[in-house]
Amino acid sequence: EAGVAQSPRYKIIEKRQSVAFWCNPISGHATLYWYQQILGQGPKLLIQFQNNGVVDDSQLPKDRFSAERLKGVDSTLKIQPAKLEDSAVYLCASRTLGTGVEKLFFGSGTQLSVL
């Protein structure tokens, strides 16, 4: 089966610029997550979708970050304006909506460098 697709693979921008990341989860996966992984740290959840609804965005810096999943499939994560501390790898993950604890499938991530 195809995996979680993310693009772009790398992005370099200057501070105060805007940037957007795209994620296409595995077909049929209702739950989608965006994580931020700063160098040397574990991934931190930014936002969780179930279909096209937001389940948890409590750790999303809403003054500059936004995310959407309009049709319950693809998702975009946007940063506007970017700060130096936003330099990180942004990971998208998806899983099925089952009764058990299903594993997460991760994309390869988008590595963002803010100069």
Binding site: G3, V4, T31, Y33, Y35, G40, Q41, G42, P43, K44, L45, Q48, V55, D56, L91, A93, G100, V101, E102, K103, L104, F106, G107, S108, G109
Partner: protein
């Protein structure tokens, strides 16, 4: 609240020797625990998961982990390290419904030839 603590940020072993990556968890209920591996420039991959069945869990690539409730630990082991095992390893705990996943800070494993 759930959390995991990975006790070592870096571990170095010689090829062919045992690997031990330590993880302690904190949870107010019987947790579901996972180990994920992240190779450079690759996505996170599940090694194994514990969901209250057998306490000794076998995963891919010869890794296994033992759930010890009395010690609140879920250490990852492998009898003999291979060069290809060099990567970042993350211990993960999920919430009660398996809806959210909380990552440790990671352990970087170096394998010395």
């Amino acid at each position: 609240a759930q959390s995991v603590t990975q006790l070592d940020s870096h571990v170095s072993v010689s090829e062919g020797t045992p690997v031990l990556l330590r993880c302690n968890y904190s949870s107010s209920y019987s947790p579901s625990l996972f180990w994920y591996v992240q190779h450079p420039n690759k996505g996170l991959q599940l090694l194994l998961k514990y969901t209250s069945a057998a306490t000794l869990v076998k995963g891919i690539n010869g890794f296994e982990a033992e759930f010890k409730k009395s010690e609140t630990s879920f250490h990852l082991t492998k009898p003999s390290a291979h060069m290809s095992d060099a990567a970042e390893y993350f211990c993960v705990v999920s919430d009660l419904r398996g809806n959210q996943f909380y990552f440790g800070t990671g352990t970087s494993l170096t394998v010395i030839p």
